[in-house]
């Protein structure tokens, strides 16, 4: 049986932990609101750019000179997986879920005889993947030194990927991130970035109604696509990073909420034990005094 002093110390330490988790939960809640706002704000841009590309690719798809970024290299032997995770831990299963999804994808691709290369964004995913697939990682970028996410960071990452593609280092590029559904659920998602040819089977991105008029381009379609496609990659990375940061905060908030509650439960239990022990001690003290008095 632990002594009263020991119990007191434990209660105190759990209380301190609870204070920390509570503070972290509140910080995450505040950051979540901001991250969500950013994610919502960036949506019109990515929606529009997707619509424009769908529109352009419909007219370019059949032609010979279509850019490789749009139609791919014609093979899918070397696949680059861009795994976006967070830089900080203590956010529940957030990173583990993304890594698990990545692992499934890697196993499936390797079973199909493809070569897999990994591009890690974020420290946590990198740490977990290094253990299993250290030799597959070709790039690793941590976003730790950037306080806020902005389009410039995404453009840098996108530039790296595009130049790797131009150098013929891979044929297909897939982006792995966590889609922010709501505070409780984040779904790890895989999105194919290169080739950018929009899957028309979804049916959502039907061409715009032009009222019978022909679309004009200035400069020509190819000139526009040449600039637009790399930008589309940047945009997709940017929105993935924003979704990730919202998801990370949501996940952290839930995790810290749980931790705070568990700490509360633990304090209750320890306080009960503390009081019981104290009463037992008083009782035994009394019995000693009374039996001492009776003996006289």
């Amino acid at each position: 049986m632990a002594s009263l002093k020991d119990l007191q110390n434990r209660i105190k330490s759990v209380k301190n932990t609870q204070k920390i988790t509570k503070a972290m939960q509140m910080v995450a809640a505040a950051k979540l609101r901001k991250a969500q706002e950013f994610a919502v704000k960036s949506r019109p841009y990515s929606d529009r750019i997707a619509a424009v590309i769908a529109n352009l690719s419909a007219s370019m798809a059949g032609s010979e000179g279509a850019p490789k970024l749009l139609v791919g290299t014609g093979s899918d032997n070397v696949q680059l997986l861009v795994v976006a995770t967070s830089d900080r831990g203590l956010c529940g299963g957030f990173n583990t879920n993304i890594v698990r999804k990545a692992r499934e994808e890697i196993t499936a691709l390797q079973a199909a005889g493809k070569t897999v290369k990994l591009f890690c964004i974020g420290k946590k995913g990198h740490d977990q993947l290094t253990r299993l697939y250290g030799e597959l990682i070709v790039e690793y970028v941590s976003l730790k030194e950037h306080k806020t996410l902005n389009a410039t960071i995404a453009a840098e990452l996108g530039g790296k990927i595009t130049s790797m593609f131009d150098a013929g280092e891979f044929d297909v590029c897939k982006l792995l991130f966590s889609k922010f559904e709501n505070v409780m659920t984040q779904t790890p998602t895989i999105k194919t970035m290169i080739p950018a040819l929009v899957d028309t089977s979804e049916g959502e991105v039907a061409g715009p109604d032009l009222g019978g008029a022909a679309y004009e381009y200035e400069p020509d379609e190819e000139g526009i696509l040449k600039v637009l496609l790399p930008r589309n990659i940047n945009t997709q990375i940017f929105s993935a990073l924003l979704e990730n940061s919202a998801g990370e905060m949501g996940s952290k908030m839930t995790a810290m909420d749980n931790a705070t509650r568990s700490a509360g439960d633990m304090i209750d239990k320890l306080t009960l034990t503390f009081n019981r022990t104290r009463q037992a001690q008083i009782t035994s003290d009394l019995i000693e005094i009374i039996s001492g008095a009776e003996a006289l």
Binding site: Y45, E218, I224
Partner: protein, 130 residues
């Protein structure tokens, strides 16, 4: 509404403007162009410069650095790479950008130097309107 143009200006970070206007002047890579309601479907790349939005006799200017203008029967959408309302733009920041652009121009070769020169010209034009 045949006499108003649905115009939206979006950058990766935010939607800067969305609403009905009379006319929008856009600096295209092949030359400036104005968009009025019922413009023919049209898509153009944008160079660095100022977008002017005309509405009810009021002119609003935005500084834009790269992007696309997409004119559709439903209206005009500008996908800007970087965009700031001219009223929020500080002369110092712009001067800094110009110095950077000059350095980039000095370092650039071939086709890049053309782009760099165009970028610098656009920045200087905007500086002139401030």
């Amino acid at each position: 509404m045949a006499d108003k143009l649905q115009f939206s200006l979006v950058s990766p970070e935010a939607e800067l403007f969305s609403g009905l206007v009379d006319q929008v002047d856009v600096p295209g890579t092949e030359g400036d162009f104005g968009v009025l309601p019922d413009h023919a479907p049209f898509m153009a790349a944008i160079r660095t410069g100022a977008i002017t939005v005309f509405n009810d006799g009021v002119e609003t200017k935005y500084m834009i650095q790269g992007g696309f203008a997409d004119v559709m029967p439903s209206g005009l959408t500008i996908l800007a790479e970087q965009c700031t309302p001219l009223s929020d733009l500080s002369a110092e920041a712009l001067a800094e950008d110009i110095t950077k652009a000059e350095q980039a121009l000095a370092a650039a070769e071939g086709d890049d130097s053309l782009d760099a020169a165009q970028h610098l010209d656009g920045l200087k034009l905007v500086q002139g309107t401030l």
